[in-house]
């Protein structure tokens, strides 16, 4: 990614979230490193769908496969806590900000808010 938006970590996380240590911090850090970050599991088909969605839009997302990461299971648990629901993946961060799981991503695409968000994050050009 050429244009990477960075910012302080704290403001991007919901105020209700408690920084419980490494997993969440790592998630935040990874999320802010790239415009579009998808947390995924390689065998998950819905993750595949969401990757196809972004690629179909011309976006090149950064994908973090939790099953291939040594601290993946901790991060998975942290994501569940963050989302307030299972499954943990797929979950999308754009511009370091949490967008949500598949249903939120699709809803925002349908109601036309996804594309501006991507443009703002520098993931999409006209």
């Amino acid at each position: 990614m050429h244009c990477q938006t960075k910012g302080s970590w704290g403001s991007y996380m919901p105020t209700t979230a408690v920084v419980i240590g490494d997993p969440l911090e790592r998630i935040e850090r990874l999320a802010s490193e790239n415009a579009v970050v998808i947390f995924s599991i390689s065998s998950c088909c819905m993750c595949h769908a969401i990757k196809r969605l972004f690629c179909g839009m011309g976006v090149n997302p950064t994908v973090i496969e939790l099953d291939q990461d040594p601290r993946g299971s901790d991060m998975e648990k942290a994501l569940i806590r963050l989302l307030g629901a299972s499954p943990a993946v797929p979950v999308v961060f754009i511009g370091g900000k949490l967008v949500g799981a598949m249903d939120r991503v699709m809803a925002s695409h349908i109601n036309g808010t996804l594309v501006p968000l991507l443009k703002q994050a520098g993931a999409l050009w006209l």
Binding site: C45, M46, H48, A49, I50, G56, D103, H109, I110, G112
Partner: protein, 479 residues
């Protein structure tokens, strides 16, 4: 003629005699006489006790014998109703029974005791005792010997009609009451048998009717005539699917109501504010539909994903357990004129984004299918149980895809209502409703079209008394 005089009633049929014979047979051969036969005697569960009870309580025994048919028909309770005064009689019987017991102890075995007592009564009571079935004849002969020696019993015959309630001797009293009771027992037994016969006949006819109905149903299902048609070839439908089908048909009725509301509103050129309410309620109506589908996806995802809840024509265009949003928009675009430029852009971008989402979900589902194929095909490493467990885990993901499909559909409808003006939205929803109504009507027409192959069958597959799509038939008037 119907003769209910004491002792004669039950003699014309062979029933009680037969059953009496059965019980004697059972006792003779030391079989376990089942508990309910003797339950009225109290704790006499063993054969020895039974024998004793029979000997000592001759009247009671006779009663129970006569009740035996009822027992064998499984309805001992019916007998009790026949003897409202039984408890009273019970107190009197021991006196009498001991005498009659003493009378026939010559025979020694309980069998003869039972048979002799009963036979004595039977023989004395009716000149037509010879009408009884042959197996009893030997018992009768045995009994008749004893009976001829028992003068007191002979006396009781004459006194029978008059001395039901009183008798100078306890034996006479015994006989009268016993006879009456016996006769009542027989009558009850006969009635019980008739009831049973009627019931069984009723069951049989119901069974035949049921199989016929099932056959009709199967034929209808294969034609897909049923609205929200029940599950496929097996004819089995899960409860989740059945519930959804029911709720869906109710939803369709509601849909009709909403649509006629919108129609009359449009025709009457109501002010926009009125339409706002109607449009919002229509959106809520669709939200309700997606809620129902979410519950159904959890209960029985296959029912949704195979489209068994829809009609064949709708099923043809099925995508991820429902309609394809981009197709719907394509259908609407031409009919929604006039639109402002902004609205046109909004609609086209909606169509575009829904197409992209559909493509993404389709690819995700394809990957799931491929993964499932790989699992089910198996390999040398995986054992059967594990293979199934893995496959089951993968199947569980289907629900997620159907849910996302419904989510997409719901979001599309919401976005449409945002892009369009209130009046346009009303027209739009009406068009959607009518479109699917026509598809359903098409399904019905298709199924009921005359075919050469069907002509030879009986016409149950073409009958209109099968539940055709009722709502869609109303549509014809609107086209």
């Amino acid at each position: 003629m119907a003769n209910h005089r004491v002792g004669e009633t039950g003699l014309t049929d062979s029933g009680p005699s037969n059953h009496h014979h059965d019980i004697s047979y059972a006792v003779l051969h030391g079989m376990n006489v089942p508990t309910s036969f003797i339950h009225q005697e109290g704790p006499a569960f063993g054969f020895g006790e039974l024998e004793e009870a029979m000997v000592l309580q001759g009247v009671k025994t006779r009663n129970d014998e006569a009740k035996a048919p009822l027992f064998t028909t499984g309805r001992p309770a019916a007998t009790l109703e026949m003897f409202p005064s039984w408890p009273m009689r019970f107190q009197q019987t021991p006196r009498g029974s001991s005498k009659s017991g003493g009378e026939s102890t010559d025979s020694g075995s309980a069998v003869n005791t039972i048979s002799s007592k009963t036979e004595i009564q039977l023989e004395q009571d009716s000149p037509s005792s010879t009408k009884k079935t042959t197996p009893l004849d030997h018992q009768q002969k045995m009994a008749s010997d004893i009976s001829r020696t028992g003068t007191s019993q002979n006396q009781s015959i004459a006194e029978l009609p008059h001395e039901k309630r009183r008798g100078s001797t306890s034996e006479k009293q015994l006989d009268a009451k016993t006879l009456r009771r016996l006769a009542q027992n027989r009558e009850a037994a006969r009635k019980s048998r008739l009831r049973k016969k009627a019931y069984v006949q009723q069951l049989e006819s119901s069974r035949i009717k049921l199989t016929q109905l099932e056959q009709d149903l199967q034929r209808a299902r294969s034609q897909g005539l049923f609205l929200g048609g029940c599950a496929g070839a097996g004819g089995n439908i899960s409860s989740g699917a059945a519930i959804f089908d029911m709720e869906y048909s109710r939803w369709l009725e509601d849909d009709q109501r909403h649509m006629s509301e919108l129609r009359t509103g449009l025709n009457a050129h109501l002010p926009d504010s009125d339409f706002r309410i109607a449009v919002d309620s229509y959106i809520s109506h669709y939200d309700e539909f997606f809620r129902l589908k979410a519950a159904a996806a959890k209960a029985d995802v296959f029912h949704l994903i195979t489209g068994m809840w829809t009609t064949p024509a709708e099923r043809c265009f099925l995508w991820m357990g429902g309609f394809r949003p981009s197709e719907l928009i394509k259908m609407l675009i031409s009919q929604l004129d006039p639109l402002t430029e902004q609205q046109v852009m909004g609609i086209y971008s909606l169509q575009h984004s829904s197409q992209q989402s559909e493509e993404a979900l389709t690819q995700g589902l394809e990957q799931l299918q491929q993964s499932l194929i790989d699992t089910v095909a198996g390999g040398p490493i995986i054992d059967g149980m594990q293979q199934m467990a893995v496959a089951l885990g993968k199947l569980a993901n289907l629900e997620g895809f159907v849910r996302q499909g419904d989510n997409l559909r719901q979001q599309t409808l919401h976005q449409l209502s945002r892009i369009l003006s209130v009046r346009q939205a009303a027209r739009c929803f009406l068009m959607i409703g009518e479109y699917y109504g026509r598809l359903r009507a098409l399904s019905s027409l298709w199924a009921s079209r005359p075919l050469e192959s069907m002509m030879s069958d009986d016409h149950s597959c073409q009958t209109t008394d099968l539940q055709m799509v009722q709502p869609s038939q109303n549509h014809f008037s609107n086209f």
